[in-house]
């Protein structure tokens, strides 16, 4: 009898843990930061080719080949000038560069393109917040930067805990 109660208690505990975990996971899942490999097959032929070039750019950024990365993003825009992810990768590239505030207009464009298509998911939004924060911070607007980076960190701690989005993390 006592054993059965114990077993019940354990099961209940497990169930509660599972529920909480699932809820937690579900919340996290909804906010899962975007990775561009997730969208690589989407869209028409120019969009797919453009995304491929963006991924090649991220590969180049990952090995610090900034020249090739930038060239790849430029070509991605040439193939599909309305590809929001090309501007997102370009913004990420710029915040790591010498003039991080150059990223801001690219982030505006990502937002405009995605919201026009109704595709501005929380997974992209968190990158927009984080990158904007990083751009502000690196260009001397510390308070605004910190606030946004903190928000990104809370929403996607795995990626944004260090206040930086690497090329691999976006890939």
């Amino acid at each position: 009898m006592r054993g059965a109660r114990t077993a019940q208690g354990v099961c209940l505990g497990i169930a509660v843990c599972l529920l909480v975990g699932c809820a937690q996971l579900g919340w996290r899942f909804g906010e899962r930061p975007l990775r561009l490999t997730d969208v690589r097959g989407e869209g028409d032929a120019p969009r797919r080719a453009s995304l491929q070039l963006v991924l090649e750019g991220l590969d180049a950024d990952a090995v610090d080949d900034a020249r090739r990365a930038r060239g790849s993003y430029d070509r991605a825009i040439q193939v599909d000038p309305t590809n929001p992810y090309a501007y997102l990768a370009l913004a990420r590239h710029e915040v790591d560069g010498t003039q991080p505030d150059r990223a801001l207009p690219f982030l505006d464009r990502v937002e405009a393109l995605l919201s026009a298509h109704g595709d501005l998911s929380p997974g992209v939004e968190v990158h927009l917040i984080g990158l904007r924060g990083q751009a502000y911070y690196a260009s001397g607007r510390i308070d605004q930067g910190v606030t946004l980076l903190e928000e990104a960190r809370v929403r996607a701690p795995v990626v944004w805990s260090d206040g930086h989005l690497s090329a691999e993390e976006l890939r």
């Binding site: 120019p46 070039l53 060239g71 193939v79 464009r109």
Partner: protein, 764 residues
Amino acid sequence: MRRAGRVAAALAFVGGFAVASWVVRLDRIVVSRFEGRQFRVPSRVLSAPTILYPGLDWRRIDLRQTLVRLGYRDHPAGSDMPVGSLHWGRGRVRVHLRAFDHPSRPEPARDIVMALSSDTIERIVELPGGREVGAVLLEPELVGAYYGPDREQRDLIHLSEVPPHLIHAVLSVEDQRFETHHGVDLRRILGAMLANLRAGSIRQGGSTLTQQLVKNFFLTPERTLSRKLQEAVMALLVEARYDKEAILESYLNEIYLGQRGATAIHGVGEATRLYFGKSVEDLTVGESALLAAIIQSPNRISPHRDAELAIDRRNLVLALMRRQGRISDSTYLQERDEPLRVAAITRDLGQARYFLDMLRRQLPTVYAPELLASEGVRIYSTLDLRLQRAATEALVQGLVEAELTHPELVTPGGDRLQGCLVALRPQTGEVLALVGGRDYGLSQFDRCTQARRQAGSVFKPFVYIAALEPDRGGPSITLASFLDDSPYALETPQGTWQPQNYDHEFRGRVSVREAVERSLNVPAARLGQEVGIERVVEVAARLGITSDLPEVPSLALGTAEVSPFEVAQAYATLANGGVRTTAHTFEDLVNGEGETLERRTLRFQRVLDAGTAYLATSLLEGVVERGTAVRVRAMGLTGPIAGKTGTTDDEYDLWFVGFTPELVAVVWVGFDKPRSIGVQSSHLALPIWVRFVREALGTEIRGAFLPPAEVTRVDIEPSSGALALAGCPERRPEFFLHHTEPDETCPRDVGGPGRVIGWLRDLL
């Protein structure tokens, strides 16, 4: 005797001094040339690279011709395809792409196979291994070059890049004892003399390679004894001062090897590109032999001119190489039987001359014409050569057809009907195509960038934007507003101004959409006054109009003179959702050593809120759907297109400006000395635009103009502009900036809960 001896000694001294002075002078000439800048290398302008990817319409991009123009040569199918070759099979094409060093993205050589359907590239795989590839880049094409007065083109090479067999081939024909003589080869001279005596005419030259170099560098081609003597002395001086490698390298860069149109091709680097479409490092033994054979008489032995003669001469050089032990018997036999594989002739691209001129004007002033003609700068431009060809063809064809349909446009010996076309990528500001007139040879005046012409109705959208833009103190019209199209008179310092519509009719009350779609003058003139002309000027300038705009009432109807290029910039800002980019013609400038001198990066500036930009775009879509540009649809283009026609008073200037989500293009047509054309723009400028866009993008335009978050779409009752609720007999959708939706409703006086119920009913 003594005196005679003294005289002789004096003469000998004077003579010796004169000779010594002469030699010193020649030596100075030699040194200054060899140690200064030896060659003038014209700067080249290269196109934007073509990108191939699965799904791309290979017929529209004319894949085969593009590869041929790039110098890819047909090669039989087989496992070993050399770099720069292609094999076009049924349903597939294999290309061994060359490596190229682009400043932003260098590419390795890649052996790829493209599976082709009837019109698209289905798949691209890379060999060996068959890895699927998402996109590959072709090397940029040569758009043109900035030449000096001599129009010499050369691609400088270093001796280390030259394959030994090319050196052997050249030496075997031109100077087989080059390694051992000191500038002059007496044995060769004697041999040549004997051969010429035997033949009774001059058949052989006795000049060494060094003498040939001296002749080309310093002397005229005349055949006098004194020039020959000078040549010999200078050759000795060159050999005394410089090593054989330096002399050989100079020779290989200097030697004349043929023509590309009016341009003289010098040096083996450029000649290899011309004849074989490849780099000098990739030459085969047979190709090297052919190049060496060409030296003797480049235009006669050119493989483009006489393939049989070229093969004969190549084989003669191969035989010489074998005889001199420079190649083996087996190589000789193998190369002798090789068919001739030469690249197609690439003509000078006269079509892009207006673009080249504009690019030169955009370069920083430090790049003076003299520098561009000599320093070998590589300019990576934004030009899309396919679009450039399409633009040229569309404009020229359109003008020719107009003259056939309207013979009154042709006055013998008089001014010819002119036109121009400029196309930009709105998101980046890249100039993709520019044709400044129908024939650059006849007139270098670029009507797209240098002419200022009355804008006519293409200016009107700036008036509507000034009125639609929120929070700027304007009357804040919406797309559901109505305007007054009744007789209008305005007192001005010049007298009473009474604008008229094109048909001299007045329609009373017209909707904003109708006013724009039918390009009515009177409502636009009134609106201009209500908004304030200074605001219209400010809006136009913000969007991209850079000309001085007079603040007069008629400005609203486009009486100001602007360039088609400015108009393209301003409309590009609309196409780009209110974000202005800097129109530019080049991305990178790289010097001869490969160092980047200039780089243009993407820059944006928001100059108009996205909502207003969208409303203006939506109005201009209406012009294409129902208005003065409806012929765009009739001519077969589908998909998102916005545009505006413009015909000025007395039909002096015809305009059409149109844009898609990815391209904006402006066409202007008129006479240089303005006179009436007697045709509406929709019948002349618009068809040119459609013809161009059809070639550039196909008939189904990709993408969509989508409303941004700050715009809502609601149904209105068209005759009143009121919000259409349930029970309203007529309705059409309309776009509004948030909080500018109409307060009035249809049916009337439905407010509070009734309105909410109406909304819900609509929603359901």
